[in-house]
Symmetry: C2
Subunit: 201 residues, 2 copies
């Protein structure tokens, strides 16, 4: 209903925006961040490059918003980390979903291109972390705080650090391809992080 009320120009804008996102992600995945240009994105999306310059200040801004859009679609409106009261089950669910996302080809290539460029470009890294990564990490902070309130996480634990024991190992395997990234691995990381490596007295 809302869609049908929109004027034609707004619908055309939405189609262009979607085409620009798709072109940007495809190009950065195929040729890398450095060789992706506004001109190349415009040509592939079938829009004038002025259309892109009117909406975004830089190549990095286009790519990050394209990537945010993919992340939003992947989430499909569901909260990224459920809170059923069972922290272990909730973390395994989100960590397995993250494994699936990292292993999916449409996500993998542009995500690697953006991550690789962030590794060597502090300015892009600040954008990438501030707009894309940190908001996702804060979902873990929120879930771990709720678990702490329920007595399921030790009182002295800092959730902002604790989450890195969960996402750090996944990112390490994915970025450096040390070993296969599987659901079984996600489960083990959750179990090790929650209960520790040292024996319980």
């Amino acid at each position: 209903m809302a869609e049908s009320k929109k004027p034609d120009s707004s619908r055309r804008s939405e189609r262009s925006r979607r085409a620009i996102y798709e072109a940007a992600l495809a190009l950065v995945g195929e040729t890398g961040y450095a060789r992706t240009t506004i001109e190349g994105i415009a040509a592939r999306a079938g829009v004038g490059k002025q259309t892109i310059y009117r909406w975004w200040p830089s190549k990095a801004a286009v790519l990050l918003e394209a990537f945010l859009d993919v992340a939003e679609q992947a989430a499909q409106g569901e909260p990224l980390i459920p809170d059923t009261g069972d922290l272990e089950a909730d973390l395994k669910l989100v960590m397995r979903a993250t494994v699936d996302e990292l292993n999916s080809p449409p996500y993998d290539a542009p995500a690697r291109a953006l991550a690789a460029e962030s590794v060597v470009d502090p300015g892009l890294a600040a954008e990438f972390v501030g707009r894309l990564l940190e908001p996702q990490l804060q979902l873990y902070v929120h879930r771990l705080r709720s678990a702490q309130d329920a007595g399921h996480v030790r009182a002295g634990v800092d959730p902002r650090i604790a989450l890195e024991l969960l996402v750090g190992p996944l990112a390490h395997r994915w970025l450096l391809r040390t070993l296969p990234l599987t659901h079984a691995y996600a489960d083990e990381v959750v179990e090790y992080a929650l209960y520790g490596l040292a024996p319980r007295p």
Copy 2:
């Protein structure tokens, strides 16, 4: 004494090898992996490019060996992970040393360049992991197995997975520059990994 017995040609070779390593690391740190060439390394090192081709099959091979050389010098002949019988103290020592290494400018730029290229190049990643990273990770496996034998790590824990809860968080902070990489952070990661996030009964 051993040095003085070497023929002149061998000493010249060693000087050339050292100059090539230094040129390779400087160039990759300054211009990135993709723009570093054998010709550029040769010019900066003051050797003919045939000298480089005679000793190494590829640019990746030169850079990885240059990097292995830096890592060996950083270790300065000491075992990278001590075994004093106190797992927590030993891990904090090596994790703090890793933080210092990652934060040191001569290491940071070439390491970032190699890591970034490995993120998008599976062939280089296999070399990087196989020759440089995995041997370092196996030092953690060895130390964690020894701790397991001593009853300081739970019997069911897989050391190859457990180590990723230690190095994964450091690598994540370093690669993506989410938050400062400090000794205090290294200590907390070790404590969280050993004792877990869940309360002890």
